[in-house]
Subunit: 287 residues, 4 copies
């Protein structure tokens, strides 16, 4: 059994739950994060022989996240991810590349002081990838559920022998947006940029008269690139959360797009990646 070659390998700690409180007198700031650490480097020995001399324990990675939160605070998740990624590469010779993924839960303030209510669903995300030569910051969001109750059609598609879908001149369009966008640099006004891109995505979704979810996807990506010159590309995955108008004719009732059953499965999935003209790709930023 000596003819196996180890091609790729990586390891790290996932689902590190960090809640950070900053106190400014009676006024607290709350940050609620899930942090993932993934390290790539010279770890072949432990795979081949179990020798762990180069393997920073995932427990230490977790400790580092908590200690850094205390030492440096947690302001923008983009900066916190950069800090951590650079640390692991700088501090450990065997680590050649570090990837930090962070998802931020939203808490809305109830009182000016220290009470909060969590807003579920949408998460702000970042993935920072750092090695000796290069650093990539991919911002994003997931779980943003949008719905237009009109302004969407799906027609003029090809019909093969397995096609039974009627043309739809007016349908509900609903999705849960997952988006990632790659910033050109590693410093910036992350909050403002995130806000502009999110607003562009939402606006494009609501303002596009949609002939297909693909068209809506492209409009969202295009508008995001236009709204924030700091990003070079954006990738979107949009599940088509089908709302099917119920056939009420057996009950002597019409259904003028009034009563729908929302279905979970199966669902369409539409994906697309847009790049700014002239920008250079960077697949390593994504996986």
């Amino acid at each position: 059994m000596t003819d196996s070659l180890l091609q790729h390998h990586q390891y790290g700690k996932r689902a590190i739950r960090l809640v950070h409180v900053t106190r400014d007198g009676d006024r607290h700031e709350l940050t609620d994060l899930d942090v993932d650490v993934t390290l790539t480097g010279e770890f072949e020995e432990t795979y081949l022989t179990g020798a762990n001399a180069g393997v920073l324990p995932t427990d230490s990675q977790k400790n580092t996240v908590y200690a850094f939160a205390r030492q440096h605070g947690v302001q923008r998740i983009e900066d916190f991810a950069l800090l951590l990624a650079r640390h692991f590469v700088r501090a450990h010779e065997t680590v050649k590349r570090a990837r930090i993924g962070i998802s931020r839960h939203h808490w809305d303030r109830i009182t000016p002081q220290h009470s909060f209510v969590r807003s579920e669903g949408e998460l702000r995300t970042v993935t920072v990838t750092h090695d000796a030569g290069k650093t990539w910051v991919v911002g994003g969001l997931t779980g943003l559920r949008l719905l237009n109750s009109t302004g969407s059609e799906f027609k003029d598609f090809p019909r093969d022998e397995y096609t039974t879908l009627p043309e739809a001149g007016d349908r509900i369009l609903a999705t849960s947006v997952s988006a990632g966008w790659r910033y050109e640099g590693t410093r910036g006004d992350w909050d403002a940029w995130h806000g502009k891109i999110r607003a562009a995505l939402v606006t494009a979704f609501t303002e596009t008269y949609s002939r297909s979810l693909q068209q809506t996807l492209y409009a969202m990506g295009e508008k995001a690139l236009a709204a924030c010159p700091a990003i070079a590309e954006i990738r979107l995955a949009l599940p088509n959360q089908h709302h099917i108008a119920v056939d009420l004719s057996p009950f002597g009732l019409d259904n003028p797009n009034s009563v729908f059953v929302a279905t979970e499965q199966p669902y369409g999935l539409i994906e697309g990646a847009l790049m700014r003209e002239g920008a250079v790709g960077a697949d390593a930023a994504w996986w």
Copy 2:
């Protein structure tokens, strides 16, 4: 095998997904519900022999929900549940009691017309139970996640041989509120009442200096009863979503309630039921 007696039985359709759109010119209203139907009655025969003459199919129950949405609209979930519960008892001789449970998902309006974003987590709920003699309406909510980053302690508890928990003079208090409250009547200003009760729950949570989550629970229930005279009782279940301050001393760092790990399990669960003085209990409203 003749000595088995059928003591209780009920059946129905669960997880009926109903999305309803009302159009007022360009302005749409969106209602997104999960509906459960449970019927109790003279269904022994089908259990004992498989004779189905009295068993309204659960598929018909589902159809009824969709047809009623078209015929009557879906304004308040309390009224829609009442309508359905009464229908099943009135229309079917074998049905002696009907229970309708509805959970409403929240969608916020993005545009004045027909675009919405879903706000996950918190659901507005109702359970209506109706039989020939009586009708009960239990309003409620689930998934309301609240957090105070200070203003909570837990001290002076008994210490047995298995107690290692240190006293906490200042801790994070976090929970996900599940609450149900029984209205005295079957007509009312459901939206206003729900709003008042929800506000009372939130205010009590934020304003109570908490010596235990039990104390907070009672304050929440008391304030809800005071805020809405239309309810006779309220039941609350509050998981204690523990946030544990990380011991950073191995890294030479203090942790002045700044860095926490949020844990999912195990968790405390605190439950309590409060009734208005002079009110009469009604267990049948609850299960």
Copy 3:
């Protein structure tokens, strides 16, 4: 705000994850449990004033579970739950009733020594309720997914104006069994009894020609009561996991009960409770 009465209250620790290993030379036994503790008693003070003198911390409850696992081992979940329930009532004057719920995950042995593979889905459960006067043991199981690909029909049901369901002369019957059964005593051959009851449930499901899921439920309960004289009653909840034959006629194909879509929602839910003739009810054992 003085007119609120505290009607009911209870508290405890949920989702205590306990894995226990017993070593007999090279041969290990593995037990994998989720444990819930719920205590009822004289805890009004903490609700009303936040005085915690009578409130055993849920953290201590968790510690007790782990310490008892070490001191007494974990053989049968029924005995372990009894031990814990009695301890909390005996050791703490304020605790008037303790309920211990345990779910056991199944691990199959891969080697005779110390390697195991987890069998997901079905859990063995127990709920023990203990107060000064009485002790109840409710055994059970959840997540047992059964399917008959024929031998099931659903016909002769009433048709109202909302009924569109065709009669089914041959359908798939599928469910995920949740069952609880109350033992008369507190000592017994728990493993053998559990095995007999489970076998009776499975046999009744497979051998009953089913005219309704209700009929199958009753047959399962009846057979379980017959198989194990040590139980006084059994309660079953059976979701009807609908498998819908796909209409292939648009593609010029028949579908002789060959191709089905398995649906998650909506689903029927059939519930029933059977008691042995002459047995005395004990609702307190169940909630």
Copy 4:
């Protein structure tokens, strides 16, 4: 907004639930699948203008899965995925590449005829990618949960300033195996090959004295490559499902690796890809 370029795009139907029954007299065979379809091709127009002339509806993709199940049966998921992938490319000029992902749920036979019990957790998987020039078959499994209650250590790792983890001379090693392996060809004895590879993975896990989960991963991959010459490479992702020995010393008890808390988060994640010496990589087979 004319400077956006569409770099990549694909679409398809996900979570198509297919249950197929084959009848051989009284004896039925049951197949329970989740099917995903993803198509790549000349679909730019719909993204840019909403023109759908080239866009086979995802609803038609779903119909195709059901119709093919009837026309061709569902024997091996590998063959069924190949059939579907080839169909979409052959039948539709705009489709340049099709990927079919299938997960198979396991049902064990209870009777020789038509009764089954579902075995949850582990799924058998396949991903077939087909374009004009090439076809790849990646078999696999997910959700296989394995545990060794001894025979595992983790020592001699580097200690930085954030390391507090003690060396472990004897620990529980537990994981949930996700594995994918690329076959060299497109015909084969899929069931036998899958069985051999699965057995190799399990045997390597149980027989390896583990100095790190990485070492175990490599041993598993190596043994799988040795067991089945038909595969060119294998990729493994192994979460380290930490079982932490509880500190019972506050209660005057020792804990000789007897009582553990099983934790869900955070968790380590160990990944590795092994290729047979001399084999040629094929990243397109994987994503």
